[in-house]
């Protein structure tokens, strides 16, 4: 079930929130666990068992890692390794098995051909997120960054917590450790959560879905109707779709968390205003970047080692980051692509960029990111190259024609809206209003409610609600 659906809002959310606030404080984690399992089980009635397995494994590993970390470091370490092996094993099997085997079979060895391909394994929803979360728990315990959670219901609630279960943000255990034990529930927080949730819903439904519908139209361009204008417009819409889809979903998660008393960290911070790729990655999918930094980059030695090792570490992190996004070569290339720009910026480009006027480095960043999305979106490299050809006038019927021109014209205002919504302007405006006084705050409340109704209208109107991040 995705948040941006009628059944989530009017069945699941309506029921869960009521139950959650009716039961006494002491039972709220249990309720959270149950409703979250229901949330996941509704979409994945069979794969829910894998998540339960992951919970039990890390509950046990975390427990022993905590028990032995002071007295027998080696023993504790074994439990961390066990947790990593099991979680990565699950993730590896469900997400990468078919990819790895089919690539191995390209090698000319007979025995490789006998390995079954198991092409019909479906990816359990959210597996990339919850395996990372459970691992972080055991590691945090081992490092002494968090305390052992003896209550399996509370630990289960952390893993399954429905707001962030499917598409993150990836919540590190140490960030919610205290909140699992006690957290505030009050009107301000609930209202604030509702505002964040509705803002995220607006991003997802009014912006991402509409941009996505445009992109799908252009993606289908072929030899009979491709144009340069159409191809560029398509990529532009995709860039907006993926940002608003993902950040909207994160906002919805953060908002729901707040309603339940949790403070999740922000996951996006206006990435499209960045003036370098280094900055872009500080602003894009922050929780994932943090995870790789804390649990891969720093343990490898980070930058506190020789220059050569430092670059090796960067390469490893970006290969993994790319591969984490999907079991396909284009994601690996996407990781390498960013790695190249990041290393170049570290070596010299950053200094150059700082001397250039702001708009030049901004354009540089956006162009690099746009072609990054081109790598990202086409899993079939052949189709991607054909599309890239269209962007540069290869194989098109014209530079522009009726459909592309009309689409450009009719989405002009929408593109302006998308651009403005990618900047901090709307939020600044919101703060200004919010501080202004009671009348303004009442107006904000009414506006939020109206936005909810409008989002409902879009949901009712359309079955067009594909969710991009399901393959994670």
């Amino acid at each position: 079930m995705v948040f941006s659906s009628l059944e989530f809002l009017f069945l699941y959310f309506a029921a869960s929130i009521m139950i959650y606030f009716i039961v006494p404080l002491a039972f709220r984690n249990v309720v959270l666990l149950i409703v979250s399992l229901a949330f996941y089980g509704w979409g994945e009635p069979i794969y829910v068992t894998i998540m339960l397995l992951s919970i039990i494994v890390d509950y046990i590993c975390g427990y022993f890692a905590g028990k032995y970390r002071e007295i027998h470091k080696k023993k504790a370490r074994r439990f961390v390794i066990a947790s990593a092996v099991i979680n990565l094993g699950i993730l590896g099997f469900f997400k990468y098995y078919t990819f790895i085997v089919s690539n191995l079979q390209l090698l000319p060895f007979d025995f490789l051909q006998k390995i079954p391909l198991l092409a019909d394994i479906e990816l359990p929803i959210g597996i990339s997120f919850y395996t990372f979360q459970t691992m972080s728990y055991t590691i945090d315990i081992y490092r002494g960054d968090a305390k052992v959670q003896k209550n399996i219901a509370s630990f289960g609630a952390y893993v399954t917590l429905f707001p962030q279960l499917i598409a993150g943000p990836i919540v590190r255990y140490q960030d919610v450790d205290d909140q699992l034990r006690s957290r505030p529930h009050n009107i301000e927080l609930f209202a604030s959560g509702m505002r964040t949730f509705i803002c995220g819903m607006g991003k997802k439904i009014l912006l991402a879905n509409c941009a996505g519908a445009m992109w799908e139209g252009f993606r289908a361009l072929n030899a009979t109707d491709a144009t340069v204008v159409g191809a560029w417009l398509g990529m532009l819409f995709y860039a907006f779709q993926i940002y608003f889809d993902f950040s909207g979903y994160s906002d919805m998660a953060i908002g729901l968390g707040k309603m339940l008393g949790f403070q999740f960290k922000e996951n996006f911070f206006y990435p499209y205003v960045s003036k370098s790729i280094t900055e872009f990655w500080r602003r894009w999918h922050i929780s994932m970047g943090t995870w790789f930094r804390e649990y891969v980059y720093i343990p490898l030695g980070g930058n506190r080692c020789s220059k050569l090792k430092n670059y090796r570490n960067i390469v490893i992190v970006w290969l993994l980051t790319g591969f984490w996004h999907g079991a396909s070569w284009n994601f690996v290339l996407w990781g390498i692509y960013y790695c190249i720009f990041l290393v170049m910026e570290k070596l010299f480009l950053q200094k150059v960029l700082q001397r250039l006027p702001g708009f030049v480095s901004h354009i540089y960043t956006l162009v690099v990111v746009l072609f990054g999305w081109w790598l990202f979106v086409f899993e079939d490299l052949g189709a991607g190259i054909t599309y890239l050809g269209y962007m540069f006038g290869q194989g098109v019927v014209a530079f522009s024609e009726a459909g592309a021109a009309f689409d450009l014209l009719r989405s002009a205002l929408f593109l302006v809206i998308l651009c403005i919504a990618s900047t901090p302007l709307p939020k600044r405006l919101f703060y200004k209003l919010y501080e202004k006084g009671k009348g303004a705050r009442v107006a904000i409340s009414a506006g939020c409610a109206a936005m909810l109704v409008l989002c409902t209208a879009y949901l009712v109107d359309s079955s067009y609600n594909p969710f991009l991040y399901f393959r994670f």
Partner: protein, 448 residues
Amino acid sequence: MDNTEKNVQPIPTGVPAKKERITADGEAARYLQLQMHLKKESRGADLLLILLTLGFIYVMAILFWVLPDSDFSAQENRTLATAPKISAENFFSGALTEQVSDYMADQFPFRDFFVGMKAFSETVQLKGQNNGVIFGSDGYLTARADYPNEDVLKTNLDAAAAFQKAMEEQDIPCTAAFVGRKQDVCDRYLPSVYGSYYSDRIWGILDDIAVSDGLSYLNLRDPLRSRAEDGEAVYYKTDHHWTTLGAYYGYAQVMESLGGAPLALGAFTVEEASDDFYGTTWSASGIKWADPDPIAYYHYGEDDAFTMAIQDSTMQFEGYAGCTYEERDGKQYAVFDGFYVREFLEEKDQYASFLGGNFGYTQITKKGDEERQTLLVLKDSFAHSMVPFLAQHYDLILIDLRYYKASMLQFCQENDIDQVLMLYNMETLTEGDYLKVLRAGLNREKGE
């Protein structure tokens, strides 16, 4: 702003000072601080927000359960999803999840209102189009089809050409007439950048194929287009069909092609049968504030002089005024006087009042013993409003190949057909390979 707020210092603010480096979490923390600071002052607004949002969610949730389900949406002309059956098998296969999703979307309270609201929001954003319908000038709503499937068009035209040739060998004159879609004919009402680019292209392709196949056809797009240019209402604003006036102009061209003389427009008396027709394009568009179209019936003499027999095994017209069911050769026929089923004027799909909608086989004959030729019309629904004109000259058998699959060659021989008219609209020609069935029996005839 009230005074207490001014006196408290310092006021935390959500907006960071210029030049200050700030992180995402820093910003969120500021906002929370601000919120907590304004706790008392903002309580009223916070409560209002919670009341409005949760109120909306719970009211809709309750209405969804309480209001009775409807089975059919006339707007969309489709059956709606109803409450799914809950079973373990259904659940574990994942089917239930989808069914509940469909059920909610289809039975959501005030569904129509929300659909209209979305259309309005798109209009305000100047998107110029909603759910694939372009908002043209003067209230014209046009389904957008940028570039239809050339291959399907070719399959259909190849079959039509082969059939035409086979008919000529049988000495049965066979005329093909192709009608434009609204975007082909009424492009003056489309946004000017969109214009007729795609139409010109696909009609050019049609012409190329026809020439290479040796198919002779009558182009009904161009003459109607010039009528539309002159401002004549040849297509409905809210529907994809041509108006009865448009059908008359089509008829005039077709009659000349069939070798007859069309009746003059002035010879008909015009009845405005309806003034509140909202067509299919309107349904798709979600534009609830559009004006309806009128529907006109053109009469020449008494319509009752004609008998219409529709092959209809479902007996869907039972109880309709003036309809009797007859059994011929083991098949049920709904028999009417005249061409119209006026009951449909009270329903959503008023265009179906012409010939009662889409059926595989319909026969129209004139009462009395006047000796008339029989014209076989292979057609889609555009033919329905042309039939009252053609029937003045011919006895008609209408076949819709989408529903009636049989060898037409054999059919012509068995039913003493004197002439054949293939009357198709570009949409039908490019949507599916419906005409392929025309090849049935052709090769056998040649002994292949």
